[in-house]
Symmetry: C2
Subunit: 183 residues, 2 copies
C-alpha cells in the first residue's frame, strides 16, 4: 500500500533527468542532474542537493460535482508516452492562510477558475498534489504539484501555467519554482 507521503530528491540519482529549474516567484532551487520521486520518506543513503516532502490529502475546495467530473476524466501518472515531468513547489502568503474557507474557495474557483482551467488540460496532463504546510516541520513550500505528459502536450501544459499565473489566486503566491524533467 502506498504511503500518502512522497519525497522528491534532487541530486545525482533518479529516473528523471532535470532539464531546467526556473524561479517563477521568489528564490529558486539549485539545478541538479537528476530527480528521484520516492514514496514515503527517502531513507536511502543518497546525498541530495535538496529534498522536498509532501502528503496526498483530502480535497480542500472541490465540490461533489467537480470531484466526480475530474475523477471521470483524469488519467494516472506514469503513462508510457508521458516522458516529460514537471515539479512545481509553491508557497502562499500568510494573508491567504488567514482567509476563512469560503473566501479561499471563492478566490480559488469563482474568481480564478482554478478547477475549470485545470480541466482544460485533462486528460492529457496527469497530476498529483502534495501538501507540505502541516507536516509539522519547517518546510520551504506549502504545496508540491507533480505533473506528467507526452512531449506533444507541452504547449497545452504551458498554456495552463500562463493562465493560472494570471489569476487573482496567484497574487497570493510568494514563491514558485518550476523543475522540468525528462524520463
Amino acid at each position: 500500500m502506498l504511503s500518502r507521503l512522497w519525497t522528491f530528491c534532487a541530486g545525482d540519482v533518479g529516473p528523471f533527468e532535470v532539464v531546467s529549474v526556473r524561479a517563477v516567484c521568489g528564490e529558486a532551487l539549485p539545478l541538479t542532474a537528476r530527480l528521484n520521486v520516492v514514496n514515503g520518506d527517502d531513507d536511502s543513503a543518497n546525498a541530495c542537493t535538496y529534498r522536498l516532502r509532501g502528503v496526498v490529502s483530502n480535497e480542500r475546495y472541490l465540490t461533489g460535482v467537480e470531484k466526480r467530473e475530474l475523477t471521470r476524466v483524469q488519467q494516472p501518472l506514469g503513462r508510457a508516452p508521458a516522458t516529460l515531468g514537471v515539479l512545481i513547489p509553491i508557497k502562499k502568503s500568510d494573508a491567504w492562510w488567514d482567509l476563512p474557507q469560503d473566501a479561499r474557495r471563492t478566490l480559488f474557483e469563482e474568481r480564478s477558475a482554478h478547477i475549470a482551467l485545470g480541466r482544460r488540460a485533462l486528460p492529457n496532463v496527469a497530476r498529483r498534489l502534495h501538501h507540505c504546510r502541516d507536516l509539522g516541520t519547517q518546510e520551504p513550500f506549502d504545496f508540491l504539484t507533480w505533473f506528467d505528459f507526452a512531449p506533444e502536450d507541452e504547449p497545452l501544459f504551458d498554456d495552463l501555467l500562463v493562465r493560472l499565473r494570471a489569476t487573482e489566486e496567484w497574487t497570493y503566491v510568494v514563491r514558485e519554482v518550476e523543475v522540468r524533467v525528462r524520463r
Copy 2:
C-alpha cells in the same frame, strides 16, 4: 514565536494531573499520572507513555461571518481560573476524508451545527485545534482538541460533548478518547 506544532506528552511529568482517561469510541489511551503540553517537538529526555503531535492550521470549514463572530467571543487558553483541561484526540473514517469539501462542510455545520454548538460554550470554554492527519507520519488520530475552563463550567462543557456526539458528523468518528486533567 510559537511553533504551529504542539506535542502532548503523557507520563510522569508536566503541569497537569491526569484525572481520567476514557475511550468514547475505539481503543483507549493508557492512564498516566501527568500530562505535559509542549510547543514544538518534545525534545526533552522525559520518557512518555504516549506522545501525540498536531499542528495548528488554517480553518477548514468556517465562513468569514462565522470566523469573525468566534474571534470576537473566544478567550485564550491558560486563564487563571481555567484549572480544568481536557484533551480529546479524534480519528474520522476514510468515508469522511473521501467526501468532497462541500459535503463535509454541509455535514459539519448545516446538518450537525458544529460551530453553533461550540458557540454555546463560549467564552467560558477555550480551545485549540491541532491537525495530525497530514504530519507525514503514521498518527493514531486526525485531530487533537485541547480545552480549558473553570470548574464551574464543567457542566457546560459536558453538555457540549453530549450534543456534538449526537450529531450526524459524529457517525464518521471511529476513535475518540477523553483525557481529563487538572492544573
